[in-house]
C-alpha cells in the first residue's frame, strides 16, 4: 500500500531539498520515503542513505518521535524527521 507521509529535513539537507523542510512523500517504509525524496531532489542522493540503502551511521530517523530504521513501516500522515545524531569530536 502506498502512503503519503511528511518527511522533514534540516540543515544542509533542507538546502538540497529545494530549500524546503517539509515534503509530502509517498512510500510504505522509511527507505521508500527517502528514495522517493531522492528522486524528487537528486541532490540528496547519498546524503541520507548510502549505496547499500542503509541510513548513514550518524543520521537518526524518527517516525512520529520514535527511532526508525530503513524498513520501519510508515502510515498515512506519519511525520518522519531526519536529523544528524549527537556525535562529533
Amino acid at each position: 500500500m502506498r502512503t503519503m507521509a511528511v518527511v522533514c529535513v534540516h540543515g544542509p539537507l533542507r538546502k538540497l531539498a529545494g530549500d524546503r523542510a517539509e515534503h509530502r512523500t509517498e512510500g510504505a517504509t522509511v527507505e521508500e520515503l527517502l528514495r522517493a525524496l531522492e528522486r524528487e531532489h537528486p541532490g540528496l542522493t547519498g546524503w541520507i542513505l548510502d549505496e547499500r540503502g542503509l541510513i548513514r551511521r550518524h543520521i537518526n530517523v524518527f517516525v512520529n518521535g520514535e527511532r526508525g530504521r530503513e524498513r520501519t513501516a510508515v502510515e498515512p500522515g506519519d511525520r518522519v524527521e531526519v536529523l544528524p545524531a549527537i556525535t562529533g569530536g
Binding site: P12, L13, E51, H58
Partner: protein, 355 residues
C-alpha cells in the same frame, strides 16, 4: 607570494604568505567538517576538496575559489545495491591527459574524471580485483591514497593501497597487476604466503625526471623501485626509524626523497621529541636530518600521509608539512632551514601548494 590549501579536521583553510614569516589565513570553507584533501588543478585553476562528513558521508566538491560556491561532484559512490559503501576519498591527482583527474579512496577504490572533476566514474577493473580478493584495511581503513602518474604517458599509473599493496596499469586502468616484489611486511609471520600478505603502503611518489623510479614509505620500511614499481629495495638504513607516513621528492633530482620518521607503528610521534625531516640525495644510500628551525625538544608530533607538500625544485624547493597538533612548517631552501607558518590550526590532514 605562496598560497597553500590545508585540509583539517575542522574545515579547509587557505593561507598565503612570504618565506620566513607566518602565513595569513585568507579563507575557510566546510567549517566544522573534516576535509581530507584539497588541491587546485593547475590546468583549470579549479579547487577540488574531499570531505567526509560524519553525518552525510564522503563527497568531492569543486569551486573556482576557496571562499566561493562549491558544487558537489557527481558519481562519487560505489555501485548501488552492493555490500559496501564509499567511506572516504583520500587523494585527488591530476592525470596526464587533458582534463583527467583521479581520486583514490576507501575501500580501495579509484575514480577517474574526464571533465575536470565535475563527474567521476569508478575504475571497475581495479574494483573487480577488490571484490574477488581479500584486501585487508590498515589502521586508517582500506585506503587508496597514492596515485603516481607517469609524465607524458597517460596510460601508466601506479597506485598504493593500505593494505593491499602497489597496483600498476599500463593501459589507463583497463587492467592491473601487483607490484610488490621485495617488500617485507615485518608485522606478518615470514611464512605468510605472498598472496595473503596485507601490504600496508603508506605513501608512493614517482621521480618525474626518471619515471621508472618510485619511492615508498611503508608501514616499517622505506623502499625504492627502479623498474616502475615491479620490485622494491629497502633504503631505510640510516634513518632513526623507517616508520612514517608522507614522502616528498625533488622533481629535478631523481635521487632525492624526503621523509618524516615517526618512532614506530605503536608510537606514531616524532622520535626523541625532535621534529626532523630526513633527506636523501643519493637514492637512499644515506640520509641527512633537516631540522634547523623545527622544534627540537618536547615535540611529539604526528604528520599524516597527505600533510607534506612541495613546490619548485632544486636548492629553492619549497617544502611544507602540517601536524595533527595544528602546526604547519615550511622551508624555502629544500629543507636546509625551516620556519613556522601556522601554529594553531585544527589537526592537519593535508597540505598542498597552489601552482
Amino acid at each position: 607570494m605562496t598560497e597553500l590549501l590545508v585540509g583539517t579536521k575542522k574545515g579547509l583553510f587557505a593561507l598565503e604568505g612570504e618565506p620566513g614569516a607566518p602565513f595569513e589565513i585568507t579563507g575557510r570553507a566546510f567549517a566544522g567538517e573534516p576535509v581530507d584533501f584539497a588541491v587546485r588543478d593547475p590546468r583549470s585553476r579549479r579547487v577540488l576538496a574531499t570531505t567526509t562528513s560524519p553525518f552525510y558521508g564522503p563527497k568531492i566538491f569543486v569551486s573556482d575559489r576557496v571562499v566561493g560556491d562549491w558544487e558537489q561532484a557527481e558519481g562519487v559512490a560505489l555501485p548501488e545495491g552492493g555490500e559496501e559503501a564509499l567511506a572516504r576519498i583520500w587523494v585527488i591527482a591530476c592525470g596526464e591527459a587533458d582534463g583527467t583527474l583521479y581520486a583514490g579512496g576507501d575501500p580501495g577504490v579509484l575514480f577517474a574524471s574526464g571533465d575536470g572533476g565535475a563527474s567521476w566514474e569508478l575504475n571497475t577493473p581495479l574494483w573487480e580485483h577488490r571484490l574477488a580478493e581479500e584486501w585487508q584495511p590498515g589502521g586508517g581503513g582500506l585506503c587508496l591514497h597514492s596515485i603516481a602518474t607517469w609524465p607524458g604517458e597517460p596510460q601508466k599509473l601506479a597506485v598504493g593501497v593500505s593494505a593491499a599493496g602497489v597496483w600498476l596499469t599500463e593501459d589507463g586502468g583497463a587492467s592491473w597487476r601487483r607490484g610488490n616484489d621485495g617488500i617485507v611486511p615485518r608485522y606478518l609471520p615470514e611464512a605468510t604466503p605472498v598472496e595473503n600478505r596485507a601490504l600496508c603502503i603508506h605513501h608512493l611518489e614517482r621521480a618525474p625526471r626518471r619515471p621508472e623510479r618510485l619511492f615508498m614509505q611503508f608501514h616499517g620500511g622505506v623502499y625504492r623501485s627502479d623498474d616502475a614499481g615491479a620490485s622494491w629495495s629497502d633504503i631505510g638504513a640510516g634513518l632513526p626509524s623507517d616508520f612514517g607516513f608522507p614522502l616528498a621528492v625533488d622533481p629535478s633530482d631523481p635521487d632525492s626523497a624526503f621523509v618524516i620518521p615517526l618512532v614506530a607503528d605503536m608510537d606514531r610521534v616524532t622520535p626523541d621529541g625532535r621534529v626532523r625531516v630526513y633527506e636523501t640525495r643519493d637514492a637512499g644510500q644515506s640520509w641527512t636530518p633537516r631540522g634547523d628551525g623545527l622544534p627540537q625538544r618536547d615535540a611529539y608530533l604526528t604528520v599524516l600521509r597527505q600533510a607534506f607538500a612541495w613546490a619548485g625544485e632544486g636548492d629553492s624547493m619549497q617544502l611544507y608539512f602540517g601536524a595533527t597538533s595544528g602546526e604547519l612548517f615550511a622551508s624555502a631552501n629544500a629543507g636546509a632551514t625551516w620556519w613556522t607558518v601556522a601554529s594553531r590550526l585544527p589537526p592537519v590532514y593535508s597540505v598542498r601548494v597552489l601552482d
